[in-house]
């Protein structure tokens, strides 16, 4: 069974007092997510949880028949915050299909852009959204006793971040007025500027193409990036210290808090930042160049590494329908029966998937209740469909990288049990080496804690990429694009890390057009409903059975512990946009003439 074991202790239980509690839509996340729970207030725990999404993702439907070169630009629009991850991943898939390898400088520019994106997105999500659940105002409303204790607790990292007590840090987290909240907004602006110097525009890049980039690699392109990077270093170093202090305090102030959001360790990471010295985008050697990525791909189950081979990861992907509103495609003609290595490709693999939506009424009692399908990873050794989660992104990335022990750069080193991140001297703080150690649990606080560490990781890797890029520019190697032809028939797959976790794009080209295209971003993995085997998705699994520490009763219940768990996964469901104008009123119709075009 892939679910987390039952956490209730027999013998101590009181008669259940079950109340239905639901949050739909959940705020301070991106997209439309509903969490429906049954909370037992007598025993202070969540008994049952369903996660639903009321947005339909139609990308795989309307990508069919389009020119594959457009894929990166169109799929970018899946998301309003990590669209560039989709462009990058789509380009990876296209590069495999077209059989091209971008020049090393282009790869460095993409990596720099993606590093800036991780820094931007994690900062804005952690400090402006997650921290509202940990701020003074929220803790006062939900656990006044904890706030009183926080006032008396000295912050161990005060020398780095400058806040004397834990309550002082919590006050800085207060929305709109707290110092950290306001500073984070500035930092996310600066990191977005860094992004734009590399990828042209945030969040839908204008200079990323299959085959390379259109960024002009001037020396100032890189120095502009570098000066901004150095400017945000102080904030990054302070964030790591502040996060450690607050989350350690929660473990201490609320014994048993490690159970909140804890689930069996089943993490997936598809790897990020290609190493241009090794990556040639050929499927046949994907396992080898995948291991050379600067965030190592891997599937971690119960603390052990199952595989770090992207070919195995690819072939194990299964899209189960479970409790979602779609029609099965199992009896249709498969698009890809064998991969280029001759391995059998399953009918439930994204390469063979056909999306057929069947809208229907939501039925939380054993019926269908979500537009999210249930992606699972088939572990052939254990013969199980694992409901992998991404730990919000950073937890899985750091865990897989640490366990693999393959990343070895001057700034980031994976040791087998930890990741060491060295950041140079910045305006206020000296050179620092931060170490993220593999935690005991995959739970809410560890998911949140990993996030600032990954911001530091990205900053450190950005120094590495910028040194690489500048050494190429100084040597006069300014090539950023490789020409290519679109083949008549080809298949490709791209593996990347969106900010909140695994991202894959699967592409099938026939007659120079897209025959099938399936992007799998992290949230379908995390927010998936119960699958065909009855296994709950990660949100449901993490929330179900978790204890409630909030002091409020059913009448003024805020559900902060449940919200902390759900937000720790960094939910992001903006995979479709629906506008209802009332009785189909047409507001405007515009026509954009394309050069030389004659529209039908």
């Amino acid at each position: 069974m892939t679910t987390t074991e039952d956490r209730s202790q027999a013998g101590e239980r009181k008669p259940a007092q079950i109340v239905d509690m639901s949050w739909d839509p959940i705020t301070r996340i991106i997209g439309n997510l509903g969490i429906y729970t049954k909370v037992d207030f007598a025993n202070r725990e969540v008994v049952e949880c369903h996660s639903t999404s009321s947005l339909f993702r139609g990308y795989s439907v309307f990508m069919r028949g389009k020119d594959p070169r457009d894929a990166g630009f169109i799929t970018s629009r899946i998301c309003g915050i990590c669209g560039d991850n989709h462009t990058t991943c789509s380009n990876y898939a296209q590069q495999m299909a077209y059989g091209i390898k971008p020049p090393p400088l282009a790869e460095a520019i993409v990596n720099l852009g993606e590093a800036a994106e991780y820094m931007f997105d994690h900062t804005i999500f952690q400090d402006n959204m997650v921290f509202v659940d940990f701020c003074e105002a929220m803790v006062k409303a939900t656990n006044p006793g904890v706030l009183a204790k926080a006032e008396r607790t000295e912050a161990p990292g005060a020398a780095v971040h400058g806040y004397r007590t834990i309550a002082d840090i919590m006050r800085a987290f207060n929305p709109f007025e707290g110092e950290v909240y306001k500073q984070a907004l500035k930092v996310s602006r600066v990191t977005r500027e860094m992004f734009c110097t590399m990828e042209g525009r945030h969040v839908h890049p204008s200079t990323l193409y299959p085959g390379g980039v259109g960024t002009m690699p001037e020396p100032t392109t890189f120095t502009d990036y570098l000066t901004r990077l150095v400017r945000v270093l102080d904030f990054i170093k302070q964030s790591v210290a502040m996060n450690d202090d607050v989350f350690d305090f929660f473990y201490e102030a609320l014994p048993g808090y490690e159970e909140v959001g804890r689930r069996r360790i089943m993490l997936g990471c598809w790897g990020a930042w290609q190493d241009s010295n090794f990556c040639d985008y050929r499927y046949e050697s994907m396992g080898d160049w995948g291991r050379q990525m600067f965030v190592t791909p891997g599937i971690v189950v119960d603390g052990g590494l199952v595989t770090n081979n992207l070919v195995d990861i690819n072939l194990g992907m299964r899209i189960l329908l479970g409790s979602s509103y779609y029609e099965d495609w199992a009896d249709r003609e498969p698009f890809v029966t064998h991969d280029p290595l001759g391995n059998l490709v399953d009918m439930r693999h994204p390469w063979n998937q056909t999306t057929v939506p069947v809208p229907q009424k939501r039925d939380l009692d054993g019926g269908n209740y979500s537009w999210v399908m249930s992606p699972r990873w088939y572990d052939k050794n254990a013969d199980q469909h694992l409901a992998l989660d991404t730990g919000g992104g950073p937890l899985a990335r750091l865990w897989s990288t640490a366990l693999n022990g393959l990343v070895d750069t001057p700034y980031v080193k994976a040791t087998g049990h930890s990741v060491q991140i060295s950041l140079p001297k910045s305006e206020k703080l000296p050179e620092m080496t931060l170490e993220w150690k593999i935690p005991k649990w995959s739970n809410t606080l560890e998911r949140d804690r990993a996030r600032p560490y990954f911001v530091a990781y990205s900053a450190a890797m950005a120094f590495f990429f910028i040194e690489r890029a500048m050494s190429m520019v100084r040597a006069g190697d300014m090539k950023t694009f490789e020409n290519f032809d679109v083949p008549d028939e080809a298949i490709g797959c791209g593996f990347h890390e969106a900010v909140r976790g695994v991202l894959s794009h699967h592409l099938v080209i026939r007659d120079k057009k897209i025959a099938n295209y399936h992007p799998y971003p992290p949230t379908p993995w995390n927010a998936s409903p119960r699958d065909s085997y009855g296994t709950p998705g990660p949100y449901e699994d993490a929330v179900q059975g978790q204890p409630i520490f909030e002091e409020n009763g059913p009448d003024d219940f805020k559900g902060v512990d449940i919200m902390r768990t759900v937000r720790s996964f960094d939910p992001c469901l903006p995979c479709g946009v629906h506008m209802y104008l009332g009785k189909g009123k047409e507001l405007t119709r515009t026509h954009t003439p394309t050069y030389g075009a004659s529209h039908d």
């Binding site: 439907v61 309307f62 069919r64 028949g65 389009k66 020119d67 070169r69 457009d70 020049p103 193409y209 299959p210 085959g211 002009m216 001037e218 020396p219 100032t220 392109t221 779609y326 029609e327 057929v356 939506p357 069947v358 809208p359 520019v473 100084r474 040597a475 006069g476 190697d477 300014m478 090539k479 950023t480 694009f481 020409n483 290519f484 032809d485 679109v486 057009k513 394309t594 050069y595 030389g596 075009a597 529209h599 039908d600």
Partner: protein, 68 residues
């Protein structure tokens, strides 16, 4: 689209890129961008049209960096 009733599409799905006269992005425009060489290097013509030959690197082993 399964059993969902949808309207008639206004344009063909691949209209934007299959238009005659549109430049194909996958072929670098060397003819229209003087100064860029096919081996990935460039000379001062890339950055200026004025006395550009006088703005090249002064030695062969030196790279031709853009002024920006």
């Amino acid at each position: 689209m399964g059993n969902i009733r949808v309207g008639k599409p206004d344009v063909k799905t691949d209209t934007p890129t299959s238009v005659f006269g549109t430049h194909r992005g996958n072929e670098a425009p060397y003819k229209r961008q003087p100064g860029l060489h096919k081996d990935g290097t460039a000379d001062a013509r890339r950055s200026t049209g004025i006395h550009w030959k006088k703005h090249n690197a002064i030695m062969e082993i030196m790279p031709n960096l853009p002024p920006g």
